[in-house]
Assembly symmetry: C2
Homo-oligomer: 444 residues x 2
């Protein structure tokens, strides 16, 4: 059957790991992409200041530009790929591209989490699209699932392992009993973690992605600054080991759930049962579990980062933008961030959660009585208490760890109790609180 | 922001489990669907001969029609849902709907596997769309992943657990050591298996789905009759138990893979390692692993059947058809079945696979020597041999099972050897051959 092949001019801004991989895919796999997408994707401009990586990748030097203006002035360019990252220059790139009448494809979660609303509004006014599959979950088509495949659902909850660096570090800590610092250093050496890992290990990158996904899933505006975020940098091998003994593995979970009063978002290191559907997600892999009122549990798994998986999502978005599919979705479904006023989130303190609590105490008679009295005063019901010997190589050989597992408790009460426990004289280190997240129940 | 709400008339043909659930969702959740999809989905006709289920579901009797013609003559109907099943009447429903200028949404894998090409050709000629997300994997948006999210990939392999009845039976056999017949009877009693389970347990339902998914994944025409299909009805608890001892769980896998000479498809009960990414997929759940040259491994998990999950996929397809998205995809990407001539598949016999072989033999000296001589003659290298005692309750207490695990071997040689072994005098029952499927390697 003879079908027309449409030519689509593409400009790429920011030729780092993801930009380089995208340019490589667009040029090396030109024929394959044409045969599958029905579009002739012409990479016309590569905009950056440093072409070191682009040269290493053997990209055509004739495409290199140091000025964005050249690309935007080119009428053959239909789609601009913003792969520069950050929230300054990148914001400018997207604004100027839309002003110049170009569709935008971006992988920039930080920018969308901070300034998405304003940019999507501009795109809508201009009749253009911003596509952002690559912003969450790398090559996993989770954004599409939320605006397309699951559109018939009231989404009740979303649980994501969405930072590959953190999941790699936690997997190593769990499987090999190593320390956070040790695994991080090795991961940096192997290029599996950034030289400055702060955005990843602080949980902030996960919060960016959660904000974007929850906005689509629940059709609500989400204020990033209202999301409680905790990273993995305070986790100790002892907690990983105690958790393991209790049947749990630790994961950095980005969680959004619908409650009677609204939506609650949070990013926290969490214990999940070894039988939990996310427990087997190991190493740099990501996964997002989504609970819909009609589908029940669906889950999306894959490489959440890396040049070539992310480039796969970017190219799917170019097809969506250039074919007009993105515009039709913009004009039809109602889950987009610019359509919903930011909403006050339900505070995490109102959740009822189980918890693991680890205290480092002077090993004196009566200490446990003191601790349990505090918990009782805060109406916290204890499921089990383990008074443990500290693992070898402890920094505090004189202290004894007390591990308490609670029944489901209002998180606010739990945190008040932890604050009080921290002030007890025999409690010699800041208490460690890790929530235990049970498998979400399907709503039908 | 004020956006137009478009009204979309829907006619539903076939009000069984899936049809009833779809009608219920469309009517009960009308407001929710309007708010999320931006479309006012008006269910205008329910066509069937028997309205027992429709009445039980409390659907509006004024919508009941016994003739398709009324619905097709209604100019307000934009989309017809073919949920009648089977390959006779259903084929007629789709043809007539397209002739009447209606888009079609169907859940009918058997029909598409047998007659998809002809129906998609008709839809294209008419400028209409056939959407079929619900045909594979129930509520899991796997079809969308193949034509949209993963479009930038050369797909190298696809491994699916796509029949919930089989996976439920195998999970029970594995976890509780029960017999196939025993679990099946219980599942039928509980409504988890059809009264006539043949299509499911024979593997044919999985083959239908594999044919559809592989067509999109590889952009090839697939002749269903060329796909080797084996069901789960011959599996014995002894094999499940021996596999477990060796570190394997048994799953009915639908596998499509790209080889140098083309594409190979098959449906077989298979042993996979407990560490394999599909090993934890239990009970009625489905999952599909897709390996793309850019994404590496991605996986899609959820309920592969049931009224409400399947209805979720059907409604997503109504949105796609009515918004024009389905038409844009039809006119842009090139993975559709009608665009590719059926292609000769690579025969399974050419694959190099590991295998588990179980023989029931007279326990005489020299039997093992006879067996290993046959294997050696067929150039089959043995990884391990277990001569086992038969589990209790064996039907053949006089016979001894011999379990052989081979290294990777050309499947054709293996099957020739098995045929020869079956003819040996001391081999008293048909040999059982189960391939051991290792985790697919990502191609980058």
């Amino acid at each position: 059957m003879a079908l027309k092949v449409k030519r689509v001019g593409v400009a790429l801004v920011g030729c780092g790991v993801v930009g380089g991989a995208t340019a490589t895919l667009l040029t090396r796999d030109r024929e394959l992409l044409g045969a599958r997408t029905g579009l002739q994707l012409d990479l016309l401009h590569i905009v950056d200041k440093d072409f070191g990586r682009a040269e290493l990748a053997g990209l055509d030097r004739r495409l290199f530009r140091t000025e964005l203006g050249t690309a935007l002035a080119d009428p053959a360019v239909a789609v601009v790929l913003e792969l520069a990252g950050g929230t300054g220059f990148a914001r400018d790139v997207i604004r100027k591209s839309l002003e110049a009448g170009k569709h935008v494809v971006t992988a920039n979660k930080a920018l969308l989490a901070h300034h998405g609303r304003e940019l999507f509004e501009l795109a809508r006014r201009k009749g253009l699209s911003i596509s952002f599959e690559a912003s969450c979950g790398g090559g996993i088509p989770i954004i599409r699932a939320l605006y397309d495949g699951l559109i018939a659902n009231r989404i009740d909850a979303l649980y994501g392992i969405v930072n590959g660096t953190c999941n790699h570090i936690l997997t190593q800590m769990t499987q090999a009993g190593r320390t956070y610092a040790d695994v991080l250093a090795e991961a940096q050496g192997a290029g599996l973690a950034e030289a400055d890992p702060a955005l990843d290990v602080s949980g902030m990158d996960s919060a960016h992605k959660l904000t974007i996904m929850a906005g689509l899933a629940f059709g609500v505006g989400v204020e990033l600054s209202a999301v409680p975020v905790e990273g993995i940098d305070k986790l100790e091998p002892a907690d990983v080991a105690f958790g393991k003994e209790l049947g749990y593995v630790v994961k950095l979970l980005a969680i959004a759930q619908r409650l009677e009063g609204g939506v609650c978002l949070r990013v926290r290191p969490s214990f999940i049962s070894r039988e939990h559907p996310l427990a087997w997600v190991s190493g740099p892999f990501n996964a997002v579990s989504v609970y819909g009122h009609a589908t029940g549990h669906t889950m999306y798994y894959g490489r959440g980062a890396g040049g070539s998986p992310t480039a796969s999502a970017i190219i799917a978005d170019i097809v969506s933008a250039a074919s007009g599919v993105a515009g039709l979705f913009r004009d039809t479904v109602r889950v987009w961030p610019e359509l919903h006023e930011p909403r006050v989130l339900v505070p995490e303190d109102e959740l009822e959660l189980r918890a693991y609590l680890r205290l480092m105490v002077d090993d004196h008679p009566g200490v446990l009585a003191q601790i349990t009295a505090v918990l009782a005063r805060h109406r916290i019901s204890i499921s089990s208490v383990l008074q443990k010997e500290m693992p070898e190589k402890s920094a505090d050989p004189a202290l004894a760890p007390v591990v308490i597992v609670t029944h489901a408790t209002r998180q606010g009460d739990l945190r008040a109790a932890v604050a009080e426990l921290a002030g007890l004289e025999p409690v010699r280190r800041p208490p460690m609180l890790i929530n235990i997240i049970d498998e979400h129940e399907e709503g039908f």
